[in-house]
């Protein structure tokens, strides 16, 4: 029981990090059909920004996190403006290649400024032990899960009810018709990249708070593929549930079976799911009227 609770908490922590990174990925894919291979590097950059503001410049963590988010949005919007917008109308594959290029560039910048040596992250989320029933769990993990859930709920509401949220879903459905409503495709793309950068930065901060900062944390970008394929490339609830699912699955397999199987099992489950539901668990249904 104790072990189960601990595994659940650590699985959910990872799962929520996956969900945040996947959310940004899904938003970009929905808005522009672009598969963003730089999602993990956005996370990396966000984590290092927070590290710089808090540990290196000595700012209070509230201000540091706030600045990180502001700069992250700026980077997201800038990337859209300078790299992707000029490619609008070009084949999607060019845009996808551009995101691969972007991932190397971001990684290069991080290495140049901070070197690849792992460092401790300023511990601003308290790490005190808490009792959850019989199990001892770190408060930092529970707080991380809480923050992620709040953020995911907020973005879900944003998509459901706000003007920009409806515009984003309209573009995902029919870009030219959305244009005819006066919806600005450029603006929506920029918002999509801004949101992707924010969620990735928050995920980066949460992750760095637990494992420290190093070049390796961007590897989480790769774990996002099983998540989004499982949930459905274009589904926001899919990203969240897929993230939690893969996070838990890894934790349970790692904890109860071990032997590195936790790296394989998600892919096996993924293949089984895809055999039954080819668009993922929550992928957009193709509407066909009779």
């Amino acid at each position: 029981m104790e072990k189960f609770i601990q595994l659940t908490v650590s699985g959910l922590t990872n799962g929520m990090v996956y969900a945040l990174v996947a959310l940004g990925f899904v938003i970009i894919y929905k808005a522009s059909d672009v598969i963003n291979f730089a999602q993990g590097e956005l996370l990396l950059f966000g984590a290092y920004l927070a590290f710089a503001f808090i540990a290196q410049f000595g700012l209070p963590w509230t201000l540091g996190v706030l600045l990180t988010l502001v700069v992250a949005v700026g980077i997201g919007v800038l990337v859209e403006r300078l790299i992707l917008r000029p490619l609008i109308g070009e084949p999607i594959i060019s845009m996808i290649m551009a995101t691969i290029g972007l991932s190397s560039v971001l990684r290069g910048i991080v290495n140049a400024i901070w070197t690849p040596v792992p460092r401790a992250f300023p511990e601003f989320i308290p790490r005190t032990d808490l009792y959850l029933g019989p199990a001892v769990v770190g408060a930092d993990r529970l707080i991380a899960i809480g923050i992620a859930i709040v953020l995911l709920v907020l973005f879900t509401l944003f998509f459901r009810y706000t003007r920009e949220g409806i515009a984003m879903r309209a573009i995902a459905d029919d870009q030219q018709a959305a244009l005819s409503m006066g919806i600005s495709v450029k603006r929506v793309f920029a918002v999509a990249w801004g949101i992707a950068a924010i969620t990735a930065a928050v995920a980066g901060i949460i992750l760095a708070n637990i494992v420290g900062v190093s070049g390796n944390i961007s590897l989480i970008g790769l774990r996002v593929f099983p998540v989004v394929i499982l949930g459905g490339l274009d589904s926001i609830p899919g990203a969240i549930i897929g993230g939690a699912f893969i996070g838990l699955l890894e934790a349970y397999t790692g904890g109860y079976i071990g032997q590195g199987l936790e790296l394989v099992v998600p892919f096996i489950v993924l293949m089984i799911v895809l055999m039954v539901k080819p668009y993922g668990l929550f992928g957009k249904e193709i509407i066909e009227r009779v």
């Binding site: 309209a170 459905d173 029919d174 018709a177 006066g182």
Partner: protein, 264 residues
Amino acid sequence: MLELNNIEVVYNDIILVLKGLSMKVDEGQIVALLGANGAGKTTTLKAISGLLKPDDGEVTDGAILFMGEPIHNKEAEEIVRLGIFQVMEGRRVFEHLTVEENLLAGAYTRRDRENIRRDMRRVYEYFPRLAERRHQKAGYLSGGEQQMLAIGRALMARPRLMLLDEPSLGLAPLLVREIFDIIQRINEEEGTTILLVEQNAVLALNVADYGYIMEGGRIVLEGTSDVLKENEDVKEFYLGLTEIGQRKSYREVKHYKRRKRWLS
């Protein structure tokens, strides 16, 4: 209100589709733009609303003026804000959005948030069937309901000029009558000027004040609806009042007529 002066439209830098087209729409009117498949009707509407770009089309010559202001170089979003709204051919509702969300998308450019609910009620008055299905995904509506939604969505933008591209396409005759009644009501009650593209000339000329007939990227004939309805060639080739199996082009007829005049 709207003036097209000698416009040329080219797709993919080479395909010349509109070859010096001129027309005019006066405020408060319903103007019909008629013509066979491929005449360039849709292209004309997209040129006005700024929607040629995604199709790789471009206005290469001439001018489009709306309220005296040139708009042929403006972005679609700017043109919508100026008060022109196109209801695209084939309805193009957002299938995965609900009816209500589709209507809200139509109101995207509006600044007067507080009136949007009121206008939504108004749309539901015009189309009670949409009210019943307000929380249903638009992809599951019938073709007729989707056309209603497409027009309702346009109303939500409160445009001064509405461009309608073949609203009768694929609908049963009874439904077509219903939709055309509502188009007429929108014109009268909301004061919206309407440019109506149709293949169904009888229907269009019955509601329109003025009509243009286009062929091969040009206007070949224009006049008030009453005059057009009485025009022999229009009767023959667009109103289908004669028993000719094969459609001849209007220009051929004109040519033939001219010759006849010389002979007599």
